[in-house]
Amino acid sequence: MQKYLAPSLRGILEQATLSRLEEVRIRLNRPLMVKDARGFSFLSHNGQLSVPLQAYIVTRDDLERTVQLVTESSWYAWEQEIQGGYLTLPGGHRVGIGGQAVYSHGVLKTIKNISSLNFRQGRAVLGAADPIIGQVASKGGSQVLSTLIVSPPGCGKTTLLRDLARQVANCGLQVVIIDERSEIASCYLGVPQLDVGVQTDVLDGYGKEIGVHHALRGLGPQVVVTDEIGHGADAQVLSELARSGVKVIATCHGDSWENLRGRSWAKESLGIFELVVILSRRMGPGTIESVLRVRGGT
């Protein structure tokens, strides 16, 4: 991830003693900040942990050079990603972009005057799905249950989903990931940067509707994996998959199954799921609170 930082910032990070770097936050005219296993901290010009007043202040040159490196001097190549607010780098690392929005006909066209970048280390947690894989798929993959992972943001839904996809695919099933925001497989130039299994096809950047059409027409999936359902339009997509006999593994924002069922879109959308996994951060991200067998959304 460091090679995408301006040389001056790269030099500082190389001197720093960090315990499992998670984030690098670059904000114009403000102190250089990192996050590691110990939490957030500022770095001085020689890589020492420091207070904000003595920390290295990020210059415009640092920011512009970093943007050049991240975009490979080719802003046009990342239009779609920039509209989504972040880029994916080789290795599955992600760069969030902060700046001034430019709208055209009511749609975000691009971001100009970039003032901050947030680098997040991409990391797959292999084995995250070990506690539930036995309930989601039988050994050998002869039976798979359509599964919904539910939690508030930041509880490890996508991490669990990715590992489930990997393990289900490795059981011998054909898996298609519809990766709307490149968060599951973290594709770079179309190639998954994180392990999503040996029998997995990734539809990167596809909307759910068109992704499902393409998957069903061309890729013959037994299981479709997708992130963050929760809109009225998803009901049609999910029922199309159910009609085709394809199992679905998906995530959804929420804190409990009861609350989720009460939502307006839930009645039509949730009927296809047979298993619901509730996550929390109670004992750290990825804490499995409960695994519920459900049928017909009840």
Binding site: A6, V67, T71, E72, S73, S74, W75, Y76, A77, E79
Partner: protein
């Protein structure tokens, strides 16, 4: 002895004339190669959103001579990982083109492209490339006319000045 000297004079002046005449053809060849490169770049951006380091590195292997060297210099500069503004790397490549007989007006046009290449969305990039293509077409037309006129003139001048020298000296 006189015959050998006359032969040498004729050979030297003739070769000079041919070399100057050939420089006009080189210019036309370089302009055609540049146009091909810009067309490839336009379609790579329009249809594949290929990044500049990838397009330039690949195209550097497709062209020989001045254009190949220019693309190779820019591609290497981009891969160096210093994050310099694109125009800085592009300028370094243009220096090599300048010493290879590409017309000054074309160098200015390319410098203008370097200021904007990679800095905006696909639609804008295509507009810039189309403007450059149009200008290159005009320059190529002028260069072809110039070549047709000058090639014969310099070939004729080379040999006829040799003959004149022979008559005067021998």
């Amino acid at each position: 002895m006189k015959g050998v000297a006359a032969g040498l004079i004729l050979f030297s002046t003739g070769a000079m004339g041919l070399t100057i005449a050939r420089s006009f053809s080189h210019q036309v060849h370089s302009l055609r190669q540049l146009m091909t490169f810009v067309q490839v770049l336009e379609s790579e951006i329009r249809f594949a959103r290929t990044t500049l380091p990838h397009v330039l590195a690949h195209q550097a292997t497709q062209f020989s001579g001045a254009i190949g060297m220019f693309l190779s210099i820019v591609s290497t500069g981009l891969k160096a990982g210093h994050g310099e503004p694109f125009i800085v790397v592009w300028e370094a490549g243009l220096d090599s083109l300048a010493s290879n007989g590409v017309p000054g007006s074309t160098l200015e046009d390319l410098r203008g492209l370097g200021d904007v290449l990679g800095t905006s969305d696909v639609t804008e990039q295509i507009k810039h490339l189309n403007v450059l293509l149009h200008r290159l077409e005009q320059t190529l037309k002028r260069s072809e006319e110039e070549r047709d006129k000058q090639t014969r003139l310099w070939q004729y001048l080379g040999f006829s000045s040799g003959l004149l020298l022979c008559l005067l000296l021998l």
